[in-house]
Symmetry: C2
Subunit: 311 residues, 2 copies
């Protein structure tokens, strides 16, 4: 199971040469998901050699341009490159009209199906699932309707212990039943499941939150993350600006999540006013075990052993 | 008088790492004009150190995304960076609605005036003028309504010959009258103007044509160019594709303009299928004196001495 997050843009609203606007490419066991799509995202995917035709689902957090101005261009490239496979776009209300208008006025035909799911949530909800993963969306706290997302592996079946298959004479039919939760019965007695199977590894989860003025009541939506991405547009010295623009400082993110159990956090969406992110890093590191200040092109791997930057 | 053209994007519809989609930054005596604004144009302007806040006029040729998908992002950056000066956008019908919808849905206020002039021309017409330049637009031959543009220096006044001012006792009042075209009269006779003034240098002109399936009847709209930019999406071996997509081959451009008097031409909008542009160059060079196949970041200077690549 491969679970990676590649940062396509780590900057805030004004793009710079070093930091493109927000976009992330997620590979969860070869299910490729794009979260947000700021201007230039398709160029970044080329630069970092990511196969963007493999994207099945695009999640758009909100309708500030630095989170979606690259979407019309990406879809145009899909059209020009002859994509045929279906695409799901989960996004705020209003995006479908904007995107389709641009494609229509250019007189292009879309040779593949696009399913837009426009959402406006007041609490966390499942918005997509397939055989291997589930995607949840939940409300963030920003100037316009904004959602965070959680991409979570599906809970796996328990692993049968091979030598016990023989000992208990478990049939092929029973294996299927056990996997779907039925108890194993021998001589009229339920056999405790630890006798013949082992618990699977817990599902891994990636949670994305941008843009957000963090609040303690949101911790429940984030706390199960094996890896959490949270914006830290500002540092503590600019906390009044963070408040007025509905963003967060690195310190506020750390403070709010201190007792949450979250051990691995990516910080991003850095304002162009900062020359480097050492202050963001130190402000948050006081509270969270592993803090990574992201850069364009960085890839992080989530595994049962934790989180590692692998590129 | 400085008259330069900087190429921000030299590629066709699918952007590559080497060639961004179409956009050009024109500096005509410190009047800064942007022609087309493909995705990433604002990033390219940062890369090539062009002061994009100085842009007064934006010309959009047509509503295929590779010619305008960067505009909403550029305007957003203008807003974020606190622009206050007026901006004129000359563009096809429909763009204003698309752009304003995107700004409105992001809940942004525009702190400067944007004047959209939506045009749909059947023949060449003046669309903008100020003290130093005139901009003309004219129809191109493409799949959707498309305009070419000419940026032309205003005709300058004749230069008075200093020693003749005394000889003919020309008064300050008369200098103004001569400049506005009144004849100089002495002893009841009109003095021939070459006696006391010299013709000014002819106005320089830059003509931009993308995207266009070139036709001989268009030559009149292009032929006065000191420098002409024309698309050459394809080479001769792909001429059937050029025809079906309403583009031009480098050879067709050369052939069509052979007798036009045009001596300096930029070719661009190259399809991503070509690894290099040596064939484009040779196909066109058979017919035109100076052919430049453009690259992202290249700057060309137009002067009375001709055209030179200066960066």
């Amino acid at each position: 199971m491969k679970f990676t997050v590649t940062i396509l843009g780590s900057g805030a609203a004004t793009p710079t040469l070093e930091r493109y606007p927000t976009s992330q490419f997620i590979n969860c066991n070869e299910r490729c998901i794009l979260i947000d799509c700021g201007e230039g995202s398709q160029i970044q995917m080329r630069k970092y050699k990511l196969k963007f035709q493999k994207i099945k689902v695009i999640l758009i957090s909100h309708l500030h341009g630095d989170h979606y101005f690259g979407l019309a261009g990406l879809l145009s490239s899909f059209i020009l490159l002859g994509r045929t496979s279906k695409l799901k776009i989960i996004c705020p209300v209003g995006l479908k009209e904007i995107i389709l208008k641009q494609i229509e006025i250019g007189n292009a035909q879309i040779p593949f199906e696009i399913e837009f799911d426009e959402i406006l949530l007041t609490e966390k909800a499942l918005v997509f699932e397939d055989k291997v993963l589930e995607i949840y969306a939940f409300p963030l706290n920003h100037r316009i309707p904004t959602h965070g997302f959680e991409i979570r592996e599906k809970a796996k079946d328990r692993n049968l212990i091979p030598e016990k298959l023989e000992e208990y004479a478990i049939s092929v039919k029973e294996i299927g039943e056990i996997k779907s939760g039925k108890p194993l019965i021998r001589k009229g007695k339920v056999i405790p499941e630890n006798e013949y199977s082992k618990a699977p590894a817990p599902p891994l989860s990636y949670v994305f939150c941008s843009d957000n003025r963090i609040q303690s009541k949101q911790v429940g939506d984030m706390k199960d993350a094996s890896l959490l991405y949270h914006e830290a547009t500002f540092t503590d010295k600019d906390k009044s600006r963070a408040k007025s623009t509905f963003h967060s400082t690195a310190k506020e993110v750390g403070e709010c999540l201190h007792q949450s159990g979250i051990e691995n956090i990516l910080l991003g969406h850095f304002s162009a006013r900062y020359k480097d992110t050492t202050t963001h890093q130190s402000e948050c590191q006081e509270y969270i075990k592993n803090v990574f200040c992201v850069t364009d092109g960085a890839t992080y791997e989530i595994s049962q052993n934790g989180v590692e930057m692998i590129g």
